[in-house]
């Protein structure tokens, strides 16, 4: 059954629908793979073996009864541990929620179950989704399947590593400053940050509410599109959910084409922080787009240079407010309640014991940026930068259909390398952040290996809000052309685990 784990989600769904294989067989193959390799990779925090098999059995029974199956029925999925799952632990990679079992499902979890997707378990992540390396997980880092001593990206490193290690064909991530796209880039997989508001945030533990966005992770562009259609759409439980039809992303992924499209190369996404091999593969991708019939236009977005700075004021500000809910009163850890201490002291002791260094750093940074006397200079100015970045995008999209850039300035760095240097770590999200600030859509897909270290490089495609289908149209064309050139998917070049 070893070959079952190499199939795409689309192939698995087709085989199950045709009765060539059962959902139980597919699920067992992936559970066996997790058992065999996850000790090394550490992509999962919790594997729900019994729950997954029960879901798979239900799919098989449905098929036997002749009932209509959804497009991803029986396909296994790795779910980032930021989404609540009824009866299954949800920790958000944190100590403060260790052992917490939510009494309800996130809307996204509900939609996956309703679509008969088999949820294998919960994946490792940077605590409260704060980080670019999955080193901030309270449960230890995840390894990059390309080189286990390197980071798999963050905060959704577990989800991307699970894909690259063939532990699951589909995964879910969340992207606040790049946490879907950056892990996709460094693991040689596909990740999409949909338009802000396209996928419900209900039941997704909030980090920075105006930036957070859940989205699909997969090994192919079509698989990501199939998952996108399952999870996207209006949700009345989320006041920021967009009440409009989901763009036809699957149709776009099936008809990849860039002929006649105008594609912008963002001038500001290059320079001293960019690894030579990353720029080389990116430039080849631009050349490929030209060969495929696109018109390439250089675009300047001058305010993007301030994106990283604005992000590291806005995200911590919102997080300092959102994480106030972790007060040791209604759920999670409680420390120091010996009958003599006040609720306030117990809260402070609990948060000290339950939060890791990156979370504390951001809570303090946000408290500072929002404090009286500094508010206008920091938070207020950052929100002005947000306006300028949105205007840059608007101007750009008057001239081009999509923008492209490298997804990350470098390939996967060694675990521990940037741990004590927050600003160096923050650079990992340099190219992904403007999209979160403006709320539009973006994708990362593999565009080759950097010659100097043999590690994957990601190509980022950026589209206007609610034009997510353009990502898939361009992404599918690039994927097909590269796969033909390489003779196989890039992931096949990864060392076997």
């Amino acid at each position: 059954m070893a070959d079952l784990i190499k199939l795409t989600a689309a192939e698995i769904a087709a085989k199950i629908a045709a009765g060539e294989v059962t959902a139980v067989e597919v699920t067992e193959a992936h559970l066996a793979r997790i058992e065999a390799v996850d000790e090394k990779v550490h992509a999962f925090l919790h594997v729900d073996r019994e729950g997954a098999l029960a879901q798979a059995r239900a799919v098989d029974a449905k098929r036997e009864r002749g009932e209509k199956l959804g497009p991803l029925a029986g396909v296994p999925l790795a779910l980032k541990d930021i989404f609540t799952t009824e009866g299954i632990p949800t920790t958000v990679g944190s100590k403060i929620l260790e052992g917490w079992i939510p009494p309800y499902d996130a809307t996204l979890t509900k939609r996956l179950k309703a679509a008969d997707v088999v949820i294998l378990g919960k994946t490792n992540m940077d605590e409260f989704a704060m980080g670019s390396s999955t080193e901030n997980s309270a449960y230890g880092p995840t390894g990059n399947p390309w080189d286990l001593t390197r980071i798999p990206g963050g905060s959704g490193g577990g989800s991307s590593a699970a894909l690259a290690a063939y532990e699951a064909p589909l995964a879910i991530g969340t992207d606040t400053g790049g946490s879907i796209r950056q892990p996709a880039a460094v693991t040689g997989t596909v990740g999409v940050k949909p338009t802000y508001g396209a996928v419900s945030r209900y039941g997704m533990v909030a980090f920075s509410s105006s930036l957070d966005q859940g989205g699909p992770c997969a090994r192919t562009v079509l698989d990501a599109a199939l998952l996108h259609e399952v999870i996207a759409g209006h949700d009345e439980l989320d006041s920021t959910s967009i009440d409009a039809p989901v763009p036809p992303v699957v149709e776009a992924a099936r008809n990849g084409d860039v002929k006649g499209m105008r594609i912008g190369v963002v001038k500001e996404f290059s320079g001293e922080h960019y690894q030579a091999g990353v720029m080389q593969r990116f430039n080849e991708s631009v050349e490929l787009l030209r060969e495929l019939g696109a018109e390439i236009v250089e675009i300047s977005c001058p305010s993007f240079d301030l994106g990283l700075s604005a992000y590291y004021l806005i995200a911590p500000s919102e997080c300092s407010s959102n994480l106030a809910r972790f007060d040791a009163m209604r759920y999670g850890l409680r420390v120091g309640d010996d009958g003599t201490r006040s609720a306030e002291d117990v809260t402070a002791l609990t948060r000290e014991a339950g939060f890791g260094p990156e979370v504390k750093r951001r809570v303090m940074l946000g408290t500072y940026a929002l404090s009286s006397g500094y508010y206008d200079a920091y938070y207020g100015s950052a929100q002005k930068v947000r306006t300028l970045i949105t205007r840059d995008f608007e101007k750009a999209f008057e001239q081009v259909d999509v923008l492209v850039s490298p997804t990350t300035p470098t390939t996967a760095f060694p675990i521990g390398e940037r741990a004590d240097d927050p600003m160096a770590m923050y650079l990992a999200d340099l190219c992904t952040i403007p999209t979160n600030l403006a709320g539009n859509a973006a994708m990362s897909l593999p565009c080759g290996l950097a010659p100097e270290d043999g590690l994957p490089v990601g190509l980022q495609i950026i589209a206007p809000a609610m034009a997510d289908d353009r990502l898939y149209k361009v992404g599918a064309a690039v994927e097909a052309a590269f796969t033909a050139r390489w003779g196989h998917p890039l992931l096949e070049e990864a060392p076997s685990l």
Binding site: L306, R341, Y378, G439
Partner: protein
């Protein structure tokens, strides 16, 4: 902009309800100073006549009819509570201090 002192970090920690250890105060003072120094560039646009964007979507209040709908049971709502008593969250003392 002023540098962030150890005392300021201690004050922020109190505001943020974090009982930081002494060594953390020193560590964070240096790091926060570095980060604030790096991100202070946003103030370059402060004098420009630019309206701030607080959210990517034009938000309006979303209302629903005020009708009772199914929700969590008291048992479910209390299921993750560190302490509970008589179907309520039990919290440490909040009155009677100084």
């Amino acid at each position: 902009m002023p540098g962030i002192t150890r005392e300021e970090v201690a004050h922020l920690a109190r505001l943020a309800r974090l009982e930081l250890k002494d060594e953390e105060l020193d560590h964070f003072a240096g790091q926060l100073d570095d980060i604030i120094g790096a991100v202070a560039r946003v103030s370059e646009v402060a004098d420009q006549d630019v309206p701030p964007t607080s959210h990517p979507l034009p938000l309006t209040n979303v209302m629903r009819p005020d009708v009772v709908r199914p929700s969590l049971t008291p048992e479910q709502a209390l299921s993750g509570a560190p302490a509970q008593e008589q179907q309520r969250f039990k919290v440490p003392q909040i009155l009677g201090e100084e």
